[in-house]
């Protein structure tokens, strides 16, 4: 029975099934709380831990968990392999919104520079204030960048072993952004598409972009462009940081 419940096909079935269910729920109910990626991570983590517990009982150890996670990773490696092509596909929204890019290039450029500066700056400052381990602080540099690019940045910074922490923080940043951005925008008393789109895309990547589309399609287009420019700029910052460290 355990063999069936941990078989590659069943893991893929669960992953796609949970994701699709929550994607449908969040579309139906228009709320960022049902973010499909967040819930897939939570429920699958719970499932894996439960399977290990059923198998080993109270004797379960960190090694057993690691083994089960590795089994899950190899079952779903097709998703991981496709991450490269998925990142390349980001060229599509960039191309489809090229007129937005051309019209607002100055605002996008300044927004991205300030966005990357304040994002990396706040992580460095908070990491220092909280006395956080240096390599973990480095792994948090790209926390505001879209996941595909964030992963590459941890490799550039030489903290590839913490990539999964980065990915988890990136996803949570998107969800926090989707929850906090609307009240912040209300607080600032403003409804300009360019401002909303840039702040959302720059501070909370793809999930923020989907929130921006709720304001207007122009805000969404600007958000998707700024998500990519923000990512590219963070890569450049990471390369410079690495050259300084090395």
């Amino acid at each position: 029975m355990i063999n069936l419940l941990t078989s590659p096909l069943f893991y893929l079935f669960l992953t796609i099934g949970i994701y699709t269910l929550f994607a449908w729920l969040s579309k139906k109910l228009h709320t960022p709380i049902f973010n499909p990626l967040l819930w897939t991570i939570i429920l699958l983590s719970g499932y894996i831990l439960l399977i290990v517990f059923i198998d080993k009982g109270n004797a379960m150890s960190l090694e057993d968990i690691n083994y089960a996670v590795t089994q899950f990773q190899s079952s779903t490696s097709i998703l991981d392999i496709l991450l490269g092509p998925v990142t390349v596909a980001l060229a599509l929204p960039l191309y489809l919104n090229r007129h937005v890019l051309k019209e607002n290039w100055l605002a996008i450029l300044i927004g991205s520079i300030v966005g990357v500066g304040s994002s990396v700056g706040s992580v460095v400052l908070l990491g220092w204030l909280l006395n956080l381990d240096g390599s973990i602080t480095l792994a948090l540099y790209p926390r505001g960048v879209t996941t595909a690019i964030a992963r590459e940045i941890t490799t550039i910074l030489g903290v590839g072993e913490h990539t999964s922490i980065t990915v988890a923080m990136v996803v949570l940043t998107g969800v926090v952004g989707a929850l906090l951005a609307p009240p912040l925008i209300k607080l600032f008393h403003d409804d300009e598409d360019t401002t909303i789109g840039l702040a959302l895309g720059s501070a909370s990547h793809a999930i923020g972009t989907s929130v921006a589309f709720n304001y207007s399609s122009k805000a969404g287009a600007i958000a998707s462009v700024s998500m990519v420019t923000n990512g590219l700029l963070t890569v450049l910052v990471a390369i410079i940081v690495r050259l300084i460290i090395a």
Partner: protein, 133 residues
């Protein structure tokens, strides 16, 4: 067939990007291959060397369902459960504070830029009109 062709085209850009990234890494410049592929595809689309229709279906599917491709990477954080549980409250503070800081900074920087641009345009128009008189 159509989907396979689109997949092959997107894979090609990814692979070429990876190759260029490898060559750059020999010159100790670590630029991610998938991003090189993305920039190349964007340029090819701009110059009409690749038609939107020949990638649109698959690319749009990837974009619309981007989240699911990160599930394996995120689940791997279970392997780091020791580190995360040791630092969880620090991570939580950074999660919230860093978002509010970067969102607010970006927001006001863009607002100021647009304001100055708008003002610049207005002044240019006023000047033009003054010259006419």
């Amino acid at each position: 067939m159509k989907l396979f062709k689109q997949l092959l085209l997107i894979f090609s850009f990814t692979l070429v990007g990876t190759l260029i990234s490898y060559l750059l890494s020999l010159a100790s410049f670590p630029f991610p291959g998938s991003l090189i592929g993305m920039i190349l595809l964007f340029i090819f689309l701009l110059f009409g060397l690749v038609k939107v229709d020949s990638i649109h279906g698959v690319a749009q599917f990837f974009i619309d369902n981007m989240g699911i491709f990160f599930v394996p990477a995120a689940i791997a954080s279970l392997k780091q459960i020791e580190i995360i549980s040791a630092h969880w409250w620090k991570l939580l503070i950074i999660l919230f504070a860093a978002f509010v800081i970067s969102f607010t900074c970006t927001y006001w920087a863009v607002k100021l830029t647009l304001h100055l641009q708008h003002k610049g345009k207005k002044e240019a128009i006023v000047e033009q009109e003054a010259n006419h008189d």
